[in-house]
């Protein structure tokens, strides 16, 4: 007789995941019965409703603090905020399917995206090595298929590249986890803080491999080479999804590991290399943007630099640091998804409007879109009055006060480089001598909505810079 070791509260903690995962099943069933002309919108509607349901339920547990499944999944302010970020960016990404992709593939795509979202939501609360890996694989397996769902050779290249490189990174992560388990004899992150483990070489090797795996998933330099290629080939909604959700999920794992799973005296030695590569990412990501001719590649490099800023915010392990990281992550989500919504509005049935050439002279054809795109690019570069500006100021302040002034210096240098890259696109959009191009047929009212919402929120966030206060401690 095995007694059921889990209580009702444990199951309540993962209900948002069940709602999102269950919605994916309903999407598949509804696709079988809905008429052909409507199935795209039926799938999107059920997907978005499921995500809203999951997000709202997760929101009601904001004040709850619970150690579910024997420490495998920790419900608390941090997990809930990260889950909301993941759910909201999944909603914005699914909205882009209104314009893009073959109709008969939408149901499968939406379902896979929902399962990936559930995986990322699991990562947001995961607090032992097993749930971390489970969440990561659930997130990645869906994405491998999603990357290959566009009818062009680059899409297949993208899927294959992501499958091979991401599995390699998972291997690193798993091997690191095995060694961490070998060093401590426990899979929970809380047990990794025992000071005695720091003398064990297995611990250092395991921790290093674990962080390499995370750096790959976050696409930090020098583990970033996959991301521009994968982003370029994948269908646009999938690229938008990957650019925020994978990073948010992995960031949650990294924050939990960095804040709560390292013995105090080992923390600097293990983490400083990670912050150094975050600093290099700020420079290299922004330099990489200069040479790009495709908007998705440009945003991929921009994302490499932005995730460098966010990781840098966690340096020093302060309470402020994690709150500002969340603030910048939310700002990045709206700026980035807004830019992707505009790319979606420039897309046609045949072609995604992601080449920089389709932005040439945009101000003459679509003055509003050009203006809004300018707004998002300036926000990504960090101009006031946008959340990108305030977020950078907050990260600078936390870096300096936590004793990492060199990270602040790298952030400033990276931002200076990025200005040039963003202004190159802006200059092209306002080129008066551009050859006239045919207007793409617009069939994406939802992309207009998400664009407008993103603009409003990026501005509002600047004037009401709310950061969640009950995020720490990350492991109990």
């Amino acid at each position: 007789m095995i007694a059921n070791p889990y209580t009702q509260a444990d199951w309540n903690a993962v209900i948002p995941l069940f709602i999102v995962g269950g919605a994916a099943l309903i999407v598949l069933l509804a696709d079988l019965v809905s008429p052909k002309y409507a199935n795209r919108y039926v799938s999107m509607a059920i997907g978005i409703l499921g995500l809203i349901g999951g997000g709202v339920y997760a929101g009601t547990t904001y004040g709850v603090s619970h150690n579910a499944f024997g420490g495998g999944f920790i419900l608390g302010g941090f997990a809930v905020v990260l889950q909301e970020v993941i759910v909201i960016s999944a909603i914005f990404s699914i909205a882009l399917f209104g314009a893009i992709g073959r109709g008969d593939r939408i149901a499968g795509s939406v379902a896979l995206m929902l399962w990936s979202t559930a995986g990322a939501m699991l990562m947001a609360g995961a607090a032992n090595l097993m749930t971390i890996f489970l969440g990561l694989e659930l997130l990645s397996l869906g994405l491998y298929c999603l990357c290959g769902l566009a009818d062009r050779p680059t899409s297949r290249e993208s899927a294959l590249k992501y499958l091979i490189l991401s599995s390699t990174a998972s291997g690193f992560l798993l091997f690191g986890m095995a060694l961490l388990f070998g060093a401590t004899g426990s899979v929970t992150l809380a047990a990794l803080t025992t000071p005695a483990v720091a003398v064990n070489p297995l611990y250092w090797l395991g921790g290093g491999l674990f962080l390499v795996g995370l750096a790959f998933k976050l696409s930090l330099v020098p583990f970033h080479v996959w991301s521009p290629d994968v982003y370029e080939g994948a269908p646009l909604p999938v690229t938008a999804f990957m650019s925020v959700v994978t990073k948010a999920g992995t960031l949650a794992v990294f924050a939990r590991f960095a804040y709560a799973a390292i013995p105090a005296h080992a923390s600097n030695a293990l983490l400083i290399p990670f912050f150094i590569i975050a600093g290099i990412s700020m420079i290299a990501g922004n330099l990489g943007m200069l040479a790009q001719t495709d908007m998705k590649r440009l945003l991929a490099y921009s994302g490499i630099a932005q995730i460098g800023y966010i990781v840098a915010s966690l340096a020093g392990g302060t309470d402020q640091g994690v709150r500002y990281a969340i603030y910048y992550l939310v700002a990045y989500m709206f700026m980035n998804l807004g830019a992707f919504a505009i790319v979606a509005l420039l897309s046609t049935d045949k072609e995604e409007g992601s080449s920089i050439a389709s932005f040439h002279g945009l101000a003459q054809r679509r003055p509003v879109l050009a203006a809004v795109m300018t707004f998002f690019l300036l926000a990504l570069a960090g101009f006031p009055p946008t959340a990108g500006f305030l977020g950078k100021i907050l990260i600078l302040s936390t870096n300096v006060s936590a004793g990492f002034p060199w990270l602040a210096a790298l952030l400033i240098a990276g931002t200076a480089i990025s200005l040039y890259a963003y202004f190159k696109v802006i200059r092209l959009m306002y080129d008066r001598h551009a050859k006239p191009q045919a207007l793409p047929s617009v069939q994406a009212p939802l992309a207009y909505v998400s664009m407008a919402v993103c603009v409003i929120l990026v501005v509002v966030m600047t004037f009401y810079p709310y950061t969640p206060s009950n995020v720490l401690p990350l492991v109990k």
């Binding site: 007789m1 095995i2 059921n4 099943l25 598949l28 069933l29 696709d31 079988l32």
Partner: protein
Amino acid sequence: MTPYAPVAIFVAVAFAAALGFSLLPGVLAQRKPNPEKEQAYECGVEPTSSVAGRFPVKFYLIAMLFVVLDVEAASFYPWAVEMHALRVFGLIEMAVFVVVLAIGYAYVWKRKGFEWR
């Protein structure tokens, strides 16, 4: 590291045995080849064509669906062994698992995944 010593001895013996069995016949055995002995198979059927032939890609889908079914069947065994201990909890877990799988198969069936095209 003493608890691992038996493991190390076991691995060493296994390697030595495997190496010995594969190298010793070459040294000790007498060689009297004849055409019958040189054939690829001493028993069974003569190969009729090259093994590196090409398979129609439609086998791929069948193989994938079979693997899913196979893994599903494999995960029933542990449940069957512990069924009385897990009681209602195990039953519900298994029911959820089968329903999720059934929805997947219903989708594949309706989208003509089982048809030989």
